[in-house]
Each structure stands twice: as C-alpha cells, then as structure tokens.
C-alpha cells in the first residue's frame, strides 16, 4: 500500500504507475527461464525503495515469490528480477507441503514477509517473520528469524 511519501511521487511521475499494467494484465514477462502466469496473481504491490521501483508478485500454483525492481524512468525494463523459491537450503516446492506468503510490507531497505511454512512430512506448521534485503543493485535472499 502506498505511504504518503510514495503517493506524492506517484502523483508526479505518471509513468511509474503505468508500467505495472502490461504484466499484471497477462502479457509475458521478460524472457527468463521461469514464466509467471499473471492471470493467477493473488498478491501484488509496488513501492519505491532505495531509488528503485520494487514490485512483489505472488501467483497461485507457483511456489516462488517474485520480486522485481525497475530503474526510475525506465518502466518497461526489469533492472533486477528474482524468484525466491527457497529459504536456506530448503526448497518451497520440494521440502514443504505449502509455503504461504501471508503479509508483505515494504520498508526503506527491505521487504518484510510473514511466511507460514507447512512441512511436507512430520512436524508442525510454523509462521516466521522473514525479510528480503533491497539495495539499488541487488535483491537479497529470504532470511527468516526463528
């Protein structure tokens, strides 16, 4: 959701809100080994972080969290794109029955994510507070606190 600071930028830079449209309305993402079916988006939002426009996308039937960053003024090109499909060495599609990204919140230097992990075998489900570091030229890994 937009903060007050974000909204002011939003009102004065119309391109910034325009670029979200093609991808979310179903066109294919930039060529990459992974393909997102944007018709199945279940959560998405965007904010300006560290002089980049950063967007997260959660997609049904896709175990990964997609994080994309764009240079301000270059709305059509991903500057960075990262598919977050694991935590530590554990893969979401192989080592858990379900990984649910419950809430996602942008901060000045990171994306905080509340994640529910449901194990595929024995064990109890666990809700963890995690974060992804966001720098102008990098998108970090998912790091979770115990």
């Amino acid at each position: 959701m937009f903060t007050r600071v974000w909204k002011r930028v939003l009102l004065t830079t119309p391109w910034l809100v325009l670029y979200a449209a093609p991808s979310l309305s179903g066109s294919t993402a930039k060529a990459s080994e992974r393909h997102n079916d944007y018709s199945k988006v279940t959560k998405a939002d965007i904010a300006i972080v560290q002089e980049r426009a950063v967007r997260y996308v959660v997609i049904a039937d896709n175990p990964c969290l997609t994080v994309q960053s764009f240079r301000l003024g270059h709305p059509a090109e991903y500057h960075r794109e990262k598919f977050i499909c694991s935590v530590g060495g554990a893969r979401f599609d192989r080592d858990f029955a379900l990984v649910d990204f419950k809430t996602l919140d942008f901060h000045d230097d990171r994306l905080d994510v509340e994640v529910e992990f449901i194990p595929s075998r024995r064990g109890r489900k666990a809700v963890r507070w995690c974060s992804i570091a966001l720098q102008p030229d990098s998108i970090g890994d998912l790091m979770c606190h115990r």
């Binding site: 959701m1 937009f2 909204k7 939003l10 009102l11 119309p14 910034l16 809100v17 325009l18 979200a20 449209a21 093609p22 979310l24 309305s25 018709s39 199945k40 988006v41 279940t42 959560k43 998405a44 939002d45 965007i46 049904a60 039937d61």
Partner: protein, 112 residues
C-alpha cells in the same frame, strides 16, 4: 496492487492497475488457483461520478477484506479547486454477487 481472500465459500480477488485503468476490478472465483470465474465487475465510478471524467485523480490507498465486503480508503481529488477528501468506502460481496462502490462522499448536493 492485488489481493485475494476466501469469502463465503468463494475466492475474491481485487486488482487495481493505477494509471493503466481508472477502474477497480473485483472477481469471484470458485477455486484458490484463480480458476472458475463466477463473477467479475469493473468499478469505474462512484454513483454517477466517473473516476476518469469527474475527478482530477482518484487514489485508492488501501483495500482490505471484511467478512461480507471489501473496505477501501480512497482519496478523491476534485476537478475544480485544489480540494481532496479521503473517504472510507466499501463494496459489498454477496454469494456470487459484487455490489457498487459506496462512500460517504459529499459532492455538490448529492451523497454517494
């Protein structure tokens, strides 16, 4: 922005593509994987007032899920003058139905 939640046995999704469209899209699906579309509605106005033609700018700041409706925080910028108002609004969700946008906005002598 986009969000999904289970409501009354269905899955309700909102999509707001600011700039590309002046509308809020609300969809009801049978299943969690966004298949089996039951109903879809594009909400582009508040009563008779078009987002595109009757306001300078409409900023949907928050959308949340309640048991029987979507709750929205929307900032309306009027066409004339420099006034803007932040309003709490809602869209009723029924069993396979999507209501209109309702806000407590006073615009001229009419309430919507």
């Amino acid at each position: 922005m986009a969000g999904v939640q289970r409501m009354m046995g269905h899955w309700v999704r909102y999509i707001m593509l600011s700039g590309a469209s002046d509308c809020i899209t609300v969809q009801i699906f049978k299943s969690a994987n966004m298949e089996g579309l039951v109903r879809q509605k594009k909400i582009c106005s508040l009563g008779k007032m078009s987002f595109r033609d009757d306001f300078a700018f409409v900023d949907v700041r928050k959308i949340g899920f309640e048991p029987d409706r979507l709750s929205l925080e929307i900032e309306f910028f009027s066409l004339r003058g420099s006034g803007d108002e932040v309003k709490e609004c809602s869209i009723e969700i029924g069993n396979g139905s999507i209501g209109d946008l309702k806000c407590s906005l006073e615009f001229g002598s009419e309430y919507y």
